[in-house]
Symmetry: C2
Subunit: 202 residues, 2 copies
Amino acid sequence: MFSGAQISLYPMAGNFVGIILDALRALDPYRERLRIETDDLSTLLVGPPEVLFPAMRDLFVAASSSGEHCVLHATLSRGCPGEPDDAICQTAEYGGPREPLEQRKAAALKSVGSAPVTDMQAAAQFSLYVMGTGDHMDEIYGCIDFLKQSGVFGRAKNFCTRLDGDAGAVFATIEAALCRFGPPEGHVTIDLTVSANSPTRR
Amino acid sequence: MFSGAQISLYPMAGNFVGIILDALRALDPYRERLRIETDDLSTLLVGPPEVLFPAMRDLFVAASSSGEHCVLHATLSRGCPGEPDDAICQTAEYGGPREPLEQRKAAALKSVGSAPVTDMQAAAQFSLYVMGTGDHMDEIYGCIDFLKQSGVFGRAKNFCTRLDGDAGAVFATIEAALCRFGPPEGHVTIDLTVSANSPTRR
């Protein structure tokens, strides 16, 4: 299994470079458990979901603590057949043989219930893509059911679902979406946008 | 068929609101052929690919002409089974019954060859997702073959492919990727990031 994300941080401020460099320190506690590569478009994080999501959350919260309008975008993937297995990605988070959808929804809700509180309000939207199966929309609708009960459901939008709430619960909810929907060994991706301090009304 | 994008524009500048508002005028020539809805996270554009991509390109070029580091992100989708048919999306761009991959690659290259030149250098990365079929990786690899011949191929990255070149050719290449790969009536999505004026080295 191979899993990770291409992430980008967009502080809408003249001092965007300084805000990004300061925020990167939030990744320090995770560096040993991630492979990290940066270019001018994004930073690659390779590692298991239980490390990836807290790392992204802490980076987002650190940048947004500047008070500036900040957006984090992530292209997340697990199980891509084109990527080699990597020991750093080893995890038990996807579970064993595919359980019934109702059990996976319950497990997803349980994990969101124990999310830490960051005191940073986040608005997010994301799309979950399940590849290589004929029943991908069943998994999507199952995930949407879970999202509606997650406590951070915002609204359905065209092509994505909106979440609003504390960044802790928002990132935990998206982690559960990636881990619990689609086959355990399947190719599942997420296109994620998380925003703080926007001056625009919802 | 339903097709469109959730797009967001991120100017990394204190005057980001002004840059966005100025750039939005670039959408004026397209407004009659698109349905447009905005909230604090993104702007929804609903319409066919031959309108969507030039509209996104002109918006991106207009914002980037400010000289500030600007990023456009788009969550693109066609054929999502969860979306209703919409007359505004009617198009012949996806072709008829699925042609052999080689013919589709040739058609993609032809359309890129006639892309207009914008004189704005763009760096992009995108992921193509083909849902609901068992052979999605064949379509992905076919698309990657096309990209390598497109004239704007940058490099393969984990989870995505990088393009570099004039914004005209870059957007035309991504349009061809969405239209020519995956079944004509299939559910195909793209997670797209396009950047200009980055102070970071590649």
